[in-house]
Amino acid sequence: MKITREEILHLAKLSDFDLEESEIDGLSKNLEDIIGYISELNTLDTEGVEPTYQVFEMENIWRDDEILPQEATREELLALTTEQAQDQIKVPKVL
């Protein structure tokens, strides 16, 4: 399966990657290889087989609706961000 340059740039945009010009062709090739390999699964007949969503066979794992005190403070968590202002995370302007 051919992965075009436009598709790579589109995927990079969706994934918020800055790609160097020199990386684009190599990535096309890598993705083609990966998809080619995975595509071998298409040779199997999966008609009527339920998709496997997870492999642990667990279900209904949920918790009570009780507020628990948090160990990590706001200051500690904000300190992990690149920039902060007014107790908020500061990011480049987005709209």
């Binding site: 969706l14 994934s15 918020d16 998709p51 969503y53 997870q54 642990f56 667990m58 279900e59 209904n60 794992i61 949920w62 918790r63 009570d64 609706d65 009780e66 507020i67 628990l68 948090q70 990590a72 706001r74 968590l77 904000l78 992990l80 202002a85 007014q86 107790d87 908020q88 995370i89 500061k90 990011v91 480049p92 302007k93 987005v94 709209l95």
Partner: protein, 468 residues
């Protein structure tokens, strides 16, 4: 040309669970500082796993039942990927393939039914505030549980669009799954509008107006879109499929970013949350907890409370609950209606409602004629006064000095006193000579002598008897 509009609405409802959908953090961030209701899970720190809030499942069942929906025994979560600073995970956990709430319908006052396609659980995003050269991110709202309700395109007028979102708001409030605070964005609406030549039986290209937060803005945005699209089609041009924003000040919609296609979200099963498989017993048990709905109250109070008053009061679920507790719902509903319609504070009065006992006492005192309608209203208003509200209605009435004198012995004594007063001698003679209206003057004297506490009707009876 005349066009026929077709409208479908997506509605996001913030659930009022104590904690968030995936972390044990306070879900009520109203009035709290930015980023103060946030955990490492909400920050999506490496290794953090979501912990599903079981209460949100129960809320979803109630919300679904309020809309006459099927509850799906099997549902699960998916990841919807997108990069934006309002979502530290880089994806939203939602239910794309197997939602918990299936098909149902909502009835409108017009009698039209709007079918519900499905509704699903998902986490909300954080809040961005934009400045000149940067934006600030507050993660308090990250993963607040939402139910997204997707309607079928069954709406064909701005009025029905308004009535549909209002009906949804009522249903969600009565189901007690949300605080329903529209001002704080507890419910948000995305409206899809398209038009086609009348009678053509086809559907036009739709535009989606996003993020409306009031019934009125939904109605106005639909009106605007119908006009805008009609002009485009009249000129022989084509409507573009796009996302549009609403400007409440100008009353216009404007073009926004082109929408990502579904495939761009790269949906995949959420591996960190096992599927939800609900037994029939569990669903039935939760469904049975659905409180009385607006239609139930309409049935209960129809013929007792006037339709127009009931329609006003139905906007206040806590008030309807209270009316169901009191003995004389008709009388109490009139007091509330007069407060809500006439007093400026209106809805503020309803934050802390009087007890059923206070209201019953007040009803009884009025019924017995111990209070005039004015007096009763005065006491009623005092029941909302934080200083007074915890007190007995009769005590308040006494302090306000509005209890009418019905004690016949006491009243007779006052009447005798008035009749013995030489100042009333002329009036008594005039009345006996057939001047009927003089009785008003005499009643007035009795009221004065009793310092306003006499029941005027009873006073008149006694006067007439004595002057006969």
């Amino acid at each position: 040309m005349k066009y026929y509009p077709t409208i479908g609405i997506e509605c996001h409802v913030q659930l009022s669970t104590k904690t968030k959908l995936f972390s044990e953090v306070d879900n009520d961030a109203r009035g709290k500082e930015p980023n103060s209701c946030v955990s490492p899970i909400d920050y999506a720190l490496p290794g953090m796993l979501p912990r599903l809030n079981g209460e949100a499942i129960k809320y979803a069942i109630r919300a679904g039942r309020a809309m006459n929906c099927e509850i799906n025994a099997h549902s699960r979560f998916d990841r919807k990927h997108y990069f934006y600073p309002d979502s530290p995970k880089g994806y939203q956990i939602t239910q794309f393939y197997h939602p918990i709430i299936g098909e149902g319908y909502v009835e409108l006052p017009s009698g039209n039914k709007v079918r519900i396609e499905h509704a699903h659980l998902e986490g909300d995003a954080g809040k961005l505030t934009h400045f000149d050269s940067y934006s600030l991110v507050d993660l308090n709202r990250v993963d607040t549980p939402l139910i997204e309700i997707v309607s079928m395109p069954d709406i064909h007028s701005a009025k029905d669009a308004h009535d549909y979102v209002k009906a949804l708001w009522r249903l969600m409030c009565y189901a007690e799954v949300t605080n329903g605070d529209l001002y704080n964005g507890n419910m948000r609406f995305d409206v899809n509008v398209s038009i086609a030549p009348e009678g053509s039986g086809t559907l036009g290209t739709r535009a989606e107006v996003k993020n409306l937060n009031s019934f009125k803005s939904v109605e106005r945005a639909v009106e605007f879109e119908i006009k805008r699209q009609s002009k485009i089609l009249d000129k022989g041009e084509k409507v573009i499929q796009e996302t549009r924003g609403w400007n409440d000040a100008t009353g216009e919609t404007t073009s926004q970013r082109s929408k990502e296609e579904a495939k761009d979200y790269r949906y995949m099963p959420e591996p960190d949350i096992p599927p939800i498989n609900l037994s029939k017993e569990f669903i039935d048990e939760e469904s049975a907890k659905l409180p009385l709905m607006p239609k139930d109250y309409k049935e209960k109070f129809g013929g007792i409370i006037a339709d127009d008053i009931l329609e006003v009061l139905l906007d206040y679920p806590a008030l309807m609950k209270k009316l169901a507790e009191v003995k004389d719902a008709k009388r109490v509903s009139n007091w509330f209606a007069s407060v809500l319609l006439a007093e400026e504070k209106s809805a503020e009065y309803l934050n802390d409602l009087p007890t059923a006992k206070q209201l019953d006492d007040l009803s009884e005192m009025t019924e017995k004629g111990e209070l005039s309608s004015t007096g009763a209203k005065e006491v009623f208003l005092r029941l909302f006064d934080p200083e007074m509200s915890k007190r007995d209605a009769r005590t308040i009435a006494k302090e306000l000095n509005v209890i009418q004198e019905n004690d016949l012995g006491e009243l007779e004594r006052i009447v005798d006193e008035v009749l013995a007063d030489p100042a009333t001698k002329q009036a008594q003679e005039d009345f006996k000579a057939g001047q009927e209206k003089v009785i008003g003057f005499l009643v007035g004297q009795v009221m004065k002598a009793s310092q306003g506490k006499a029941n005027p009707a009873v006073a008149q009876q006694i006067l007439r008897k004595k002057l006969a």
